[in-house]
């Protein structure tokens, strides 16, 4: 027995297979740039507490331009701490009170005096929490629907395909606006709306892949062994559909990022005051003519993150087409 199986490599756990498919990205320059941008933003989100020079929601000095410094007299408080404790003293002669430099507004402040850089840094947490969460949830629903439709066929396929056609016939943003306006804006509702609107698209892709894979020999072998349908779908079929799904998930996470931004921009996003990039643009766009820094920097932030995901997807597609 051992002689026969000796030459066959051991089957790796599913998670390693998926990671290996993902690791192929290192063969594509474009993909590596994309991965770099995404990793940059993920690190920013993780290290937000260390990187942000100011608390994101405290109002410090309205309408400061980029590069201005926050100079406070002694006795004032910053983030509930006396400035004496946390800021550098700059001069103490002329006036009875000494003055402290508490840092620079590298990107300026918004109309109510919150530091733009700190809000962008903390805003990356918001978007990098909700975008992957919503995409993952949409994938779970979409994969289950797609597997059921593609493998079971019959009425399950008809019903699921029709339902997804109906949902996909809505222009996406129209759907989001109606859903969010009806159920109200909250993090959970945004995730639900995104799942509702994206799962049918994922289902179509999975269904197409399954229709091809279900006639492979290893599926027949599994059926002959008497494996259950869910085991066949999840263990035999799904891992072999991973290539296109990984590419699609990168594109989709970019779209979801845009969606979260658009909802924030339209005033349908996460409730204030916690920073999210789209909301920052919406709050300050009336002043964009006079204080462009308030809106332009969040725009760069969200565009660069989406670009990262898209380049990553493009790199993965390039790599997967190569062999």
């Amino acid at each position: 027995m051992s002689d026969i199986t000796a030459g066959i490599p051991r089957k790796e756990p599913a998670i390693i297979q998926w990671l290996k498919a993902f690791a192929l990205i290192r063969e594509s320059i474009v993909g590596m740039i994309g991965a770099g941008i995404v990793i940059f933003w993920v690190s920013v989100a993780i290290l937000a507490d260390v990187l942000a020079p100011f608390p994101p929601n405290s109002t410090l000095r309205p309408l400061a331009f980029p590069g201005q410094e926050l100079v406070l007299p002694a006795g004032q408080k910053l983030a509930n701490q006396p400035v004496e404790d946390i800021c550098a003293q700059i001069y103490e002669n002329k006036s009875p009170t000494s003055t402290y430099n508490c840092g620079t507004f590298w990107l300026g402040t918004d109309h109510i005096g919150r530091d733009i850089l700190s809000r962008i840094i903390y805003g990356s947490r918001t978007v990098l929490f909700y975008a992957p969460l919503a995409t993952l949830a949409a994938y779970i629903v979409g994969i289950v629907m797609g597997l059921a439709a593609g493998y079971l066929r019959g009425w399950a396929d008809d019903v699921l395909s029709f339902v997804s056609n109906v949902i996909l016939s809505f222009p996406v943003l129209v759907l989001y606006v109606i859903i969010i306006a009806t159920v109200g804006a909250s993090g959970l509702n945004i995730v639900i709306a995104i799942v509702f609107a994206s799962a049918p698209g994922i289902m179509r892709i999975v269904r197409g892949l399954v229709l091809d894979l279900r006639n492979r020999e290893y599926v027949f072998a599994a059926q002959t062994r008497g494996e259950g349908i869910w085991r066949i779908m999840l263990v035999e079929i799904l891992p072999n559909a991973r290539g296109p799904l990984i590419v699609d998930s990168c594109v989709r996470i970019g779209y979801v990022t845009i969606t979260i931004g658009v909802l924030g921009f339209l005033g349908l996003g996460l409730p204030p005051p916690d920073p999210d990039w789209g909301g920052m643009i919406n709050e300050t766009r009336q002043m964009a003519m006079t204080f462009p820094h308030m809106t332009v920097f969040p725009c760069f932030a969200i565009s660069s993150l989406v670009l990262g995901f898209n380049l990553l997807a493009d790199g993965l597609r390039e790599v997967s087409l190569r062999d």
């Binding site: 016939s169 306006a181 349908l268 003519m289």
Partner: protein, 310 residues
């Protein structure tokens, strides 16, 4: 072919009916809620009861839906709560404005997307191909609201060339259309270009193109007479489906530039819970989306001889 057309149109009508049922249930299932939205949160329970009675909301749900659908088909969408006028009267001028915006955008997207896509796909892997591909990835990565901010900052704030809003308060002014169109084109043309490129690159690899080149036809003839005919079938579908995306895009752009169009109206209706207006807008949006999808399916079948003659 005829059977196919009939079936596609049948599916389209069925989809519209299901959408209308979903929409009706979402917005009007709870009739008490409808009365609150129409009469305001401070209306008395008595007046709500009278309003519900007067407008037939005490009938059974299917009866109400049937009547609603009947009115809808003859163009009676009810009265807008916010504008206090019949919905159709608000909706039609807005639709006209959006048709202008979307029409101009689509025309430019088609020209730019096809040109760049064909140029890139003709010489796959060339410098031009790389530049066009990267450019289209970058432009599709910038969300419409971000490019609106950036373009406004450049053309209105720094260069002072264009107006920053497109309210069209003193009649129609084409100059005010420039920025909204630019934003939409920038976001949308990349996708068309990429799809055209892929289709063109695929055709350029086929044997019949190689044959055409090898038998000594001028390169121009090979491209124009042999390659394009097949390469443009897929982009046709992509461009038709782009209309669905445009309907999303116009919401953002019209909101940003205060353009009095359909997208801004839908957003305003949703934010103000103007249910009859939401229903009308949503149905119009879905109708446009489903109709273009049907046309693109039929067109694809017609254009592709392999499907047409089988």
């Amino acid at each position: 072919m005829l059977l196919f057309i009939v079936r596609r149109i049948g599916t389209m009508i069925l989809t519209m009916i299901v959408v209308s049922i979903l929409l009706f249930l979402t917005l009007e299932f709870n009739s008490e809620n409808v009365a609150v939205k129409v009469l305001g949160p401070y209306s008395s329970p008595e007046s709500r009861a009278i309003w519900l009675e007067d407008h037939g909301y005490n009938d059974a749900l299917p009866v109400r839906y049937g009547r609603w659908l009947g009115n809808f088909i003859v163009g009676d969408f009810g009265e807008s709560i916010r504008f206090k006028t019949p919905v159709a009267k608000v909706l039609l001028p807005r639709l006209k404005n959006t048709a202008i915006l979307a029409g101009v955008t689509l025309a430019i997207v088609t020209v730019l997307g096809l040109t760049f896509g064909i140029l890139a796909g003709m010489n796959e892997g060339s410098m031009l191909d790389r530049v066009i591909s990267i450019t289209s990835i970058i432009t599709t990565s910038i969300p419409e609201f971000a490019s609106a901010v950036l373009l406004t900052a450049i053309f209105v704030f720094y260069l002072d060339l264009l107006p920053g809003t497109s309210g069209m308060t003193d009649g129609f002014d084409p100059i005010q259309l420039v920025l909204p169109v630019m934003v939409l084109v920038l976001y949308d043309f990349g996708y068309v270009a990429r799809m055209t490129r892929a289709s063109m690159a695929e055709v350029m690899m086929t044997h019949y193109i190689r044959t055409a080149v090898l038998k000594g036809l001028p390169y121009k003839t090979v491209i124009l007479r042999h390659a394009l005919r097949n390469a443009l079938i897929a982009p046709f579908t992509v461009i038709m489906l782009q209309i669905n995306w445009l309907l999303s895009g116009v919401i953002v752009v019209e909101f940003f530039y205060a353009y009095k169009g359909f997208g801004a109206l839908l957003l305003e209706a949703s934010l103000n819970q103007d249910i009859f207006l939401i229903e009308a807008c949503a149905m119009v949006a879905v109708f446009v989306a489903v109709a273009t999808q049907t046309i693109s399916d039929l067109g694809y079948t017609y254009l592709n001889p392999r499907i047409r003659f089988s």
